[in-house]
């Protein structure tokens, strides 16, 4: 038995497979940060923090003439989203049903993906995570219309290049910005293609956690690192006669190693 305690759940194997598959599908669709940052792990539950190699000096320690410094460590944050499913519905899988109603799994996967990406892009103070947008020293570029996206991406790319940040680049776009680009055409030529050309055939990534617009970042490696302890997993919490409560969990932290490697493109009206 391990921390996930899945063997304790009154769930037939066929249902577990459908639950896992659905969670996997939604997570891969929604997770945007993992598509553009370096990944370290999974290191398992035992990893509690990441060594930054830095010291935090204490001005005045308790003993005179003894200097005190504390090692700077980034603690891993654990996410957990509960999922309640009716046992009767799950049992249908054992009878051959392949279309279980797994909406609670979808919602949980969306929530966890949003939380991970929010930490990557915007930070999470309690876990000492600084997001890539927070860390970026570059002045955001304003995008005043859908047609302004290609020139904004060109300008953003120039800023990164001037800062010594080479490509390849990826453009992570918030939900509204992404839909705006996908829907629009510029003189009959799809905006999406024009944007990809400006980003040197870089990836356009759908990133629902981004709310202000988009982020252009380098994916050359060595700039951003997501460290995962326990990778995204489904565990068992409890059950009664009617329902079983599962949860979706993971442990991770995120580090910005080169703060100049991204720039925000802010959509303004």
């Amino acid at each position: 038995m391990d921390l996930l305690k899945r063997q304790k759940a009154p769930i037939v194997d066929e249902a577990w497979q459908q639950i896992d598959e659905e969670a996997r599908r939604v997570l891969k669709l929604h997770l945007a940060g993992r598509k553009v940052v370096d990944f370290s792990g999974p290191h398992g539950w035992q990893l509690g923090g990441v060594n930054t190699g830095r010291l935090e000096h204490i001005e005045k320690g308790p003993i005179e003439n003894v200097s005190h410094a504390v090692r700077n460590v980034l603690p891993l944050v654990e996410l957990r989203v509960p999922i309640t499913l009716p046992i009767l519905e799950l049992d249908y899988a054992g009878r051959g049903a392949t279309d279980l109603d797994l909406d609670p799994v979808i919602l949980a996967a969306e929530s966890v993906a949003r939380a991970e990406d929010d930490a990557i892009f915007h930070g999470f103070e309690h876990a000492k995570i600084t997001g890539m947008i927070q860390a970026s020293p570059h002045t955001p570029i304003e995008v005043r219309s859908a047609q302004a996206w290609p020139s904004a991406v060109s300008a953003a790319k120039k800023v990164l290049r001037m800062a010594g940040v080479n490509g390849p680049y990826a453009l992570a776009m918030g939900m509204e910005a992404y839909e705006e680009v996908m829907a629009d055409g510029d003189d009959g030529y799809p905006l999406r293609k024009r944007l990809q050309e400006r980003a040197e055939q870089g990836s356009l990534i759908w990133a629902p956690a981004l709310q202000e617009g988009a982020v252009l970042l380098s994916t050359r490696g060595g700039d951003y690192e997501l460290t995962v302890g326990q990778d995204l997993s489904l565990g068992y919490a409890s059950h009664d006669r009617s329902n079983v409560e599962l949860y979706l969990t993971e442990s991770f932290t995120f580090r910005v190693l080169e703060d100049k490697a991204c720039i925000l493109l802010r959509r303004v009206s």
Binding site: R24, D38, G41, P42, V228, L232, S233, L234
Partner: protein
């Protein structure tokens, strides 16, 4: 394509393969080469009749072991299924064929993306390069 390149062993059209898959292919080919070299050095050292040459061949063989493990570690870091299996089997004790059962308490496979009631992660790992 240049003759003799490892990419000749691709089994699908290269344009359909992601950077991640191509790099994993390179690592697996390298690992195979290192393991093959260990085997060759082992045989040569055993058959060799010169003591000094034998010690060099054994030294070289041990170097290849290091190379193989470095490549395996790269695969572990990149691939959660490798990671889960390595966690299960490496540094375990008792009969190897019983390790999995010990880890899962008889609950099924322990490694890789979960199946049934097993306790592995969903195997998401890195998605870098995926659109």
């Amino acid at each position: 394509m240049f003759p003799g390149m490892s990419s000749e062993t691709y089994h699908e059209p290269i344009e359909l393969l992601s950077e991640d898959t191509k790099n994993t292919h390179r690592a697996i080919v390298s690992l195979k080469e290192e393991l093959e070299a260990i085997d060759w050095y082992q045989q040569r050292a055993e058959a060799c009749t010169d003591d000094e040459l034998r010690s060099i061949l054994i030294h070289n063989k041990n170097e290849e072991v290091e190379h193989a493990l470095m490549t395996l570690e790269w695969l572990r870091r990149k691939n959660p299924v490798f990671a889960a299996n390595i966690e299960t089997y490496l540094n375990s004790s008792g009969p190897v064929t019983e390790v999995e059962e010990k880890v899962t308490g008889g609950g099924g496979e322990s490694a890789g993306p979960s199946s049934g009631a097993s306790s592995a992660s969903l195997g998401i790992g890195s998605l870098k390069g995926m659109k």
